[in-house]
């Protein structure tokens, strides 16, 4: 029988022979510990894949931005009065349109918010773990959160906060308020999370920025986005893009 560790190694470097593959499959069925280790490594592979994909995506967004910034202005042939006149009137129209847009409609804050808001996944509490025997308040709160039952999530997290006032409870309560469009409540909690300077601090900054955008508090949004970019741990690229759009 081949070393289990080597089997896993060969699996993840795509080098299992047919015979090893058979051993491998047998072990998965019979050896609980082996299966656990395999699942762990497989999950890890998936997590890294997602992380790398995200980072590739932000690189592509960066390339795209560079292209937009360097598109050369097409030169019009000289001595062609008509084309010039056309170009001039288009420029005038665009200019007027831009002025009008800038003066009268301004930034579409709601749209910026919608484009960027995505609820933060529950990374705290593994709902499947305890199965049905676990009927703790905490579990119910996260279940409500994950199933978008915002009112219930708010109620349960608030109850939980009375006995267990932690950074994560505050953060997910704030998330629930945001989803329920109660911005003031969300902001207070996010500021609390921020003050703790713990693991959710950069995330709190991001959501605080979005909340400010939604309530059209441009200066505050810009300030917190800048803090987030300086922090650099979370959504740095997205924050830069948003900042551009606000300016």
């Amino acid at each position: 029988m081949m070393d289990k560790e080597l089997l896993l190694y060969n699996y993840f470097s795509n080098q299992l022979t047919a015979e090893e593959q058979k051993q491998f499959d047998d072990l998965l069925k019979t050896d609980v510990e082996f299966k656990e280790q395999f699942d762990f490594e497989k999950n890890l592979k998936e997590v890294i894949r997602e992380k790398e994909t995200d980072s590739l995506k932000s690189k592509l967004i960066g390339f795209e931005k560079d292209i937009e910034d360097t598109v050369p202005v097409r030169e019009l042939p000289k001595r062609n009065y008509q084309k010039w006149a056309m170009a001039a009137s288009i420029a005038l129209l665009v200019g007027l349109g831009w002025l009008g847009y800038n003066n009268f409609s301004g930034t579409d804050y709601q749209e910026l918010y919608n484009d960027n808001f995505q609820e933060y996944p529950n990374t705290v509490y593994a709902i499947t773990r305890g199965t049905e025997t676990d009927s703790s308040l905490e579990r119910e709160a996260y279940v409500a959160y994950e199933t978008d039952d915002n009112a219930k999530a708010i109620q349960l997290f608030t109850e939980l906060k009375e006995t267990y006032d932690s950074e994560s409870v505050n953060f997910y309560l704030a998330q629930s308020y945001l989803k329920n469009n109660q911005l003031t409540e969300a902001n207070t909690l996010l500021s609390e999370v921020l003050e703790k300077e713990g693991e959710f601090a950069p995330q709190a900054l991001w959501y605080l920025s979005l909340s400010y955008i939604k309530s059209k508090q441009k200066e505050k949004a810009i300030k917190s986005l800048n803090l987030l970019i300086a922090d650099g741990r979370y959504k740095k690229n997205e924050a830069e893009v948003l900042l551009d759009e606000l300016d």
């Binding site: 190694y9 993840f12 470097s13 795509n14 080098q15 762990f40 490594e41 999950n43 890890l44 592979k45 998936e46 997590v47 890294i48 894949r49 997602e50 992380k51 790398e52 994909t53 590739l56 995506k57 690189k59 592509l60 967004i61 390339f63 795209e64 292209i67 996944p121 529950n122 990374t123 705290v124 509490y125 593994a126 709902i127 499947t128 773990r129 693991e199």
Partner: protein, 189 residues
């Protein structure tokens, strides 16, 4: 451009330097956008599709699903892009003008039919793992990424990262895995 692309090998892509990523992105972009315009999506949507196609192409190289380039890179990008566009239109229930056959919606080219087009979103457990993986030291993250994502063997890691011998790599890898497991156990309650 055509010539530079012809020389890009799968190995080069796997190494994935930023310069190469940019070169491939820029040299196929215009062609792709011209092609995509016939489907009446907005320019912004076309750019999104192009980027998604690019990411999927890359992902399938890394996961070993694409073992050799039997066609030019742009052919792959077009095939994936076409699938994504049809998929998008189906989801938008967009009424399509033009003369292409809707029965082809969702159908993928032979070339890419083994590709994984829609990666699953992470489970709760994986999200937790992601958080802790992100808190590992850079060295550990790099080593595990080389192994689990880029498909480097221990020997290749040793060569690429100037480790003294394979055993050093192996024990570094087990240490990283051990730390990761400890972090998870400490956090789960």
């Amino acid at each position: 451009m055509e010539n530079t692309q012809a020389e890009i090998t799968l190995e080069d892509l796997r190494k994935g330097s930023d310069d190469l990523l940019r070169l491939v992105y820029e040299s196929n972009r215009q062609k792709f956008l011209n092609y995509a315009r016939r489907y009446n999506l907005s320019e912004e949507e076309n750019i999104d599709v192009y980027q998604d196609a690019y990411v999927i192409f890359y992902d399938n190289i890394m996961s070993g699903k694409l073992e050799s380039l039997s066609s030019s890179i742009s052919t792959y990008l077009f095939s994936i892009g076409k699938y994504l566009i049809f998929d998008k239109m189906r989801k938008n229930k967009k009424v399509v003008s033009g003369d292409f056959d809707l029965s082809r919606v969702g159908e993928t080219d032979e070339l890419v039919n083994t590709f994984e087009m829609e990666p699953q979103s992470l489970t709760t457990e994986q999200e937790l793992l992601k958080k802790h993986f992100g808190s590992l030291g850079d060295k550990c993250q790099e080593l595990l990424t080389l192994f689990y994502y880029r498909g480097f063997t221990i020997q290749e890691i040793m060569e690429a990262k100037n480790y003294n011998n394979e055993n050093v790599v192996k024990s570094a890898k087990s240490r990283c895995m051990k730390t990761l497991k400890e972090k998870i156990q400490a956090n789960t309650y």
